[in-house]
């Protein structure tokens, strides 16, 4: 998955709560959305929830980026090992002197 892939979060933010950059794919059916008072929540509270969700989304993306950076490091190390095996296989006859 690349960074531009759909970002799905498991925090239900109710109607109109999805912040930019964190697309909410599933329909909002959370408890607070159904609650009678949900539509009447003041703007500040909703902004706080949206900000919290944005923070979570950012943190998840950041962690994913860190994991991918680690994966790239791992890949280069493994590739170097593979290259070493290839080169060693060309010269092994000189080293091994396997009797037959």
């Amino acid at each position: 998955m690349t960074r531009s892939a759909t970002m799905t979060v498991d925090v239900d933010v109710g109607h109109g709560g999805a912040p930019e950059g964190a697309h909410h794919d599933a329909p909002s059916t959370g408890a607070d959305a159904r609650a009678p008072g949900a539509q009447r929540g003041d703007g500040i509270e909703r902004d706080d929830r949206a900000q919290a969700m944005q923070d979570r989304a950012d943190a998840a993306l950041e962690e994913l980026d860190q994991r991918k950076a680690g994966a790239r490091r791992t890949a280069w190390i493994i590739a170097a090992i593979a290259a070493a095996f290839f080169i060693a296989s060309l010269f092994q006859g000189h080293f091994a002197h396997i009797p037959h």
């Binding site: 998955m1 799905t8 979060v9 962690e63 994966a71 493994i78 090992i81 593979a82 290839f86 080169i87």
Partner: protein
């Protein structure tokens, strides 16, 4: 288990056909490509096998020239190993590993795309050799010099395609290692991973270690053929036996590359349909690691008859027999998992049970050949043909088919027809024995492999074997029908968990699996893992 696998179904993920199937970086799409490609190659390699069995149906030359027969046997081996068994396991790994460890995709998706798309070009190169002057390579899949050097110009294509296949395998393995080591969901410790992931992690290290060695060996052959070197030319001080050592240093771990993922699959299926946690999870993990380690120490058992010091023969004999110990651990643990379980024999379980029986038959004949004095009798006969076909067809291929029947509802969102799936199983299970069991008799009687004609004394069992071959080949058409019907026409919807007693993250997401499985890492609940919190 708490997960956050919210669905982005394929229908909502707008991509053109070309974008989806040629440029995809999605692990599921690439897994599907691998599986479709290996299915196609199964029928290509299988058609070679049908021609071989048709020629061997009766003694005497029936259908083809001897050289073409040798081309068929060589290409059958190369296609089946590099085009069927290995890619289909990689396809299964692509589909299942990210879902099983709670990752959104493979760690290196573009590398994943490259790994796959190298394959078709490698096989176009390889199969095009049939149409070249001098024909396709005919020295066996082992490509021993000096015989392979005496073929036509197609050797360059053969070697280049081997290089490409090696690059594809190594890149795929790098991706799997990077994914498993870096992309696991928080809480998914290594010793909590499903067995299939463990088996592929270890297999990937085997691939990294030995595919470059094969590349090195064929590179030296290339230089001997085209650039005037004499690595394997005895007349100029080279050593053809050295090629065998280098080749089999690749070749024996390659056998385990083709069977360790099968162990992982069986370790997923058996607990599900035994309704019990896997018996001895840690022992199973260490047994796989032990088998992988020992596989580096046994290569010369493939070449006892070239002549080697007695000490070497004894070492390789005992090292080979030692592998029976961790392999036995696995067999007994699967049986112990079934023991006192609430067994049900759905289609995947049937394949798993057949795997255990047929792989054991192949394994036991392998132990027989580990014995140096006995091996001198079996070497180069149909006994070894029977042995490795029991391992690779009854073992590897059966596990792949079992895996497809196990996970196909998860992939497609539909259930398949039990009747046709069971017909496919029973017809395969019977015909594979009709095909390969008589070859053990032929081998004991001394029939050599890789010949298009034989003594009339071998006629009856060859005819039986050929009938079994045609039967088995035709049976696989049922499989294609079942898969096509399930994916495109089946009305039976699969639930998320599909089977009654499933554990593991892949069963927590909807069927069909969404385009991206885990965009937010799932929470791991130990009690929901296949081996669970129960200990033995």
């Amino acid at each position: 288990m708490s997960t956050t696998a919210q669905a982005v179904p394929y229908e909502e993920h707008h991509q053109s056909f070309f974008e989806r199937w040629f440029m995809s970086t999605n692990h599921k799409d690439i897994g599907t490509l691998y599986l479709c490609f290996s299915c196609l190659m199964l029928f290509v390699g299988g058609s070679f096998a049908m021609l071989i069995r048709a020629e061997l149906f009766e003694p005497g030359m029936q259908l083809m020239q001897p050289y073409f027969f040798n081309e068929l046997t060589s290409m059958h081996g190369l296609v089946m190993i590099f085009g069927v068994i290995m890619p289909s396991f990689v396809g299964l790994a692509n589909w299942m590993i990210p879902m099983q460890i709670g990752a959104p995709d493979m760690a290196l998706p573009r590398l994943n795309n490259l790994s796959f798309w190298i394959l078709p070009f490698a096989f176009i190169l390889l199969l095009s050799t049939f149409f070249m002057p001098g024909g396709a390579p005919a020295a066996g899949w082992t490509m021993y010099p000096p015989l392979v050097l005496q073929g036509g110009e197609s050797i360059a294509f053969l070697i280049f395609s081997i290089h490409l296949l090696g690059i594809s395998s190594v890149l795929g393995s790098i991706n799997i290692i990077a994914t498993v080591l870096n992309m696991r969901a928080p809480g998914m410790d290594l010793l909590k991973m499903p067995m299939f992931c463990w088996s592929w992690l270890i297999t990937s290290f085997l691939v990294i270690a030995v595919m470059p060695v094969l590349s090195g060996a064929v590179t030296m052959v290339l230089f001997d053929r085209f650039f005037g070197t004499n690595f394997f030319n005895a007349a100029a001080g080279g050593d053809p036996v050295m090629y065998q050592h280098v080749f089999w240093f690749f070749g024996h771990p390659e056998v385990y590359i083709m069977i360790l993922p099968a162990f992982g699959i069986i370790s997923e299926i058996v607990p599900t349909f035994s309704r019990k946690p896997l018996f001895g999870y840690k022992a199973m993990v260490f047994a796989i690691a032990c088998i992988a380690f020992l596989s580096f120490l046994v290569w010369a058992h493939h070449m006892f008859t070239v002549g080697m010091p007695l000490g070497g023969e004894v070492f390789f004999m005992f090292a080979t027999m030692l592998i029976a110990v961790p392999t036995g651990v696995k067999i007994f643990n699967w049986v112990a998992t079934m023991w006192n379980g609430s067994l049900s024999f759905e289609v995947p379980m049937l394949w798993a049970c057949a795997f255990i029986v047929l792989f054991s038959i192949g394994g036991f004949s392998g132990v027989m050949m580990a014995l140096v004095p006995a091996d001198f009798q079996y070497y180069g006969t149909y006994f070894i043909v029977a042995h490795f076909h029991y391992v690779l067809v009854g073992g590897a291929l059966f596990s792949i088919l079992g895996a497809v029947y196990f996970w196909l509802p998860k992939w497609s969102g539909h259930m398949y027809s039990n009747f046709w799936a069971k017909l496919h199983f029973w017809s395969s299970a019977i015909s594979v024995n009709v095909l390969f069991f008589p070859q053990q008799f032929l081998g004991f009687a001394g029939m050599p492999r890789r010949i298009p004609d034989y003594n009339v004394a071998f006629a009856d069992w060859n005819m039986v074997s050929s009938i079994g071959g045609f039967w088995f080949g035709a049976t696989q058409l049922i499989f294609v029908g079942v898969v096509i019907h399930t994916v495109f026409f089946s009305k039976a919807k699969a639930t998320a968990r599909v089977w009654e007693h499933t554990y593991g993250l892949e069963w927590d997401i909807p069927s069909p699996a969404p385009h991206h499985s885990f965009t937010v890492p799932p929470v791991i609940d130990d009690s929901q893992l296949a081996h669970g919190t129960l200990t033995h």
